[in-house]
Symmetry: C2
Subunit: 430 residues, 2 copies
């Protein structure tokens, strides 16, 4: 196959006609498929049905320490679940608060708390003229939605295979006291699936923030979400690196079992220093009587320990891996030599990131939608939904069945080709 850029105008016109015909045929099929969100598939959910019955009418509902999980008490989590979540994040039990079913909710509340009360003894952010967050991008749309809602100014930081551009991160964090935070998905990043290198993590730990209340929002959403038994990415544990570097309070780390057990029926955790956790417990004890301990207990009873959880994740992987590979195979075959896009090959997480030619992403997503395949909105992976190159598209392979996925990917590839040809023709005519 020739690279599209080398095609003459007449070749492009012929190709466009051919692709347009294919596209009209695809539209006529009346597809209705969704590749927009990182949702586990039915087969993943069915595979763990036993979780639902792990606590029943005859179960012992006490913690190992004898606390009745049905009643009030244990604000920050039952000890054995602290241990489980600590092991998941690679930290010690006393650095964990267990929360409810949504780590996003912890992140939101952590920022809300900083807005109203400040971070530890800092000025409440709502009293400041300007608060800025660094946003490595492409990144997670829901992170950006939170900072946008709070009126926090978002500064885009380019993402690379080793993580965010650390020269820029250092410049902003160490130089600008209005910079109060940075959003990170450090392992199998959303959407690229990149894992921060040890060097990147060490440079994070060694930051010298201009603001004492600067915090790294370390969303370790895919901590144990490998697609392969062997050769999964390894992420350096940041809390101990920060401790070593004299920045013990600089990180809020988040994790959850939303994609381990069930989305919306999992448990979440915050890992941080004692000073940070103590400060949070002080407001938390006013906010709630504590999260659902019976659901915490379900998790311990079902997994027993981190080894149980990890081997469970391999069952997820066995369902997800073929889907990732199927997409990659089609992309390689159909677009490998065309020079009209590039894509990532993650070894874990929930997404593949696709880079189209500049100025094509919106149109590709639109064309897919018109033919019945919903992708994540183009631009969603950037702050303010504004992708400066209009080139990034997030592919979420997990929810559709393998068969649906194959149909959806064929359509995606077709839309990439057609849009690219239209773009190249447009460029020639300009």
């Amino acid at each position: 196959m020739k690279a599209y850029k080398e095609l003459s105008e007449s070749e492009l016109l012929a190709l466009r006609e051919e692709l347009n015909k294919e596209y009209e045929e695809a539209k006529a099929k009346g597809l209705k498929l969704d590749m927009s969100r990182g949702k586990p598939s039915m087969s993943q959910l069915d595979m763990e049905r036993d979780f639902l019955g792990v606590i029943d009418a005859d179960s012992d509902v006490n913690t190992e320490g004898g606390v009745d999980c049905r009643n009030y008490g244990l604000l920050d989590g039952i000890p054995e679940v602290k241990k489980l979540m600590a092991d998941m994040l690679g930290v010690s039990d006393d650095m964990i608060i267990v929360f409810g079913n949504s780590s996003l909710n912890i992140m939101y509340d952590t920022i809300a708390r900083a807005m109203i009360f400040g971070v530890i003894d800092g000025t409440p952010w709502c009293r400041l003229d300007k608060v800025k967050f660094l946003c490595p991008a492409p990144g997670y749309d829901r992170h950006f939605a939170i900072t946008e809602q709070f009126g926090i100014e978002m500064v885009t930081i380019p993402m690379g295979e080793e993580g965010p551009d650390m020269d820029l991160v250092e410049k902003y964090v160490n130089g600008d006291p209005a910079v109060k935070g940075i959003w990170c998905v450090p392992k199998y990043s959303n959407p690229q699936g990149y894992t921060y290198s040890d060097e990147t993590v060490r440079r994070f730990a060694a930051l010298k923030p201009a603001a004492a209340d600067f915090r790294i929002f370390w969303d370790n959403a895919y901590a144990i979400h490998d697609l392969y038994e062997e050769g999964g990415d390894e992420l350096l544990e940041i809390l101990s690196e920060c401790e070593k570097a004299g920045n013990p309070d600089m990180v809020y780390e988040f994790g959850s079992t939303s994609k381990v057990t069930f989305p919306g029926s999992g448990i979440s955790a915050l890992a941080s220093s004692k000073a940070n956790l103590d400060s949070i417990r002080k407001t938390m004890t006013i906010q709630t009587i504590g999260p659902d301990k019976l659901n915490q207990l379900r998790h311990v009873r079902y997994f027993k320990d981190i080894e149980g959880m990890k081997s469970h994740m391999m069952k997820h992987a066995s369902i997800m891996r073929p889907k990732f590979e199927a997409i990659l195979k089609v992309l390689d075959r159909e677009l490998g030599d065309a020079g009209i896009g590039s894509w990532t090959r993650p070894r874990g997480g929930y997404f593949i990131s696709f880079e189209s030619m500049a100025g094509c992403a919106k149109e590709i997503v639109k064309k897919c939608k018109e033919a019945g395949v919903v992708l994540t909105g183009a631009g969603a992976t950037y702050p303010y939904k504004a992708d400066p190159n209009d080139s990034n598209i997030r592919l979420a392979p997990t929810f559709p069945s393998e068969e649906e996925l194959s149909v959806a990917t064929d359509l995606f590839v077709l839309c990439v080709k057609l849009t690219s040809v239209e773009k190249l023709l447009q460029n020639k005519q300009e």
Copy 2:
């Protein structure tokens, strides 16, 4: 029995000696009992063990409309649970958002939201010089803890058998634009067990607030928590009264199943007007992917409908009622003619409220504690933990067994007598 006030100094001295002896004997028993919080007892929790197994590995996990409750989706609750919570609060389904396991958490977040974003189009409260809340007292300590944490000035409003002093409420709400809210537990109030009269509810509905963003925080925590099959208190439904009175957006109503199923593993709901709910959904969709739908499903499958829930509440009542009656019997017998205290006789809820002689509550609670019986801290039922008369004590009969309760009440009565005698002697000597 003579009223204590009519006793001579020598009679009081003799009585003190006798009571002191009894108290020393009681202390020697080394009791360890807790009447401090409104916690269901083990027998209540054991009675509903079947709830735990109502969803198991073989269950259909779809809503009636076919949504898989294990996966993401349905931000504001599954329809059949909206119906259940609507029936519990006596409103229509479309006035309900279902939340997680804690109605306290909804209240906290509702105030946090008002602080940061304002109520609908109002100025964020954090930008105002002064925000005030009216606090009918004695009231619920956790309400006051929330407003205190947010730096909201609390104005105490006296509680009577028909509800808060409405002349005062009208004066403040209609006259002072800094008054943004009022805390109410309108049915079986905490701690007195009073239910607001129809007249009180109508006067609430007819308020003409000076602040457009004034809201009534209507914590209907004991909506279906009757102690008796017949003759339970009836509360007029406030949302429709407000609608009629031209104040459709004035109320946030809260409810939960924390004391219907399990504390910490129940579900909670907010009932309000469409305008209020729409505004909340706008921030909620950024804050969370939604509450645990499997736990919502457990509630529908277990209760079927509101009738099932109400008959379940009668099982709770059959366990709780004898405890309330046991306390009342001891109080009547031991203190009925002594003129050193009065108490309420609720027909529902979780508490009995005791009024000692002025200046005695702290000392009574202290004496009880020293002899091994923990009561709610004296003062806790007032804003800033400051009971102006130092006379209110909240008794929580539910958690101890009947036998423990009898021992604890005997001690309580003894401490009331001893403290009152000491007070009367002190008054005589002044």
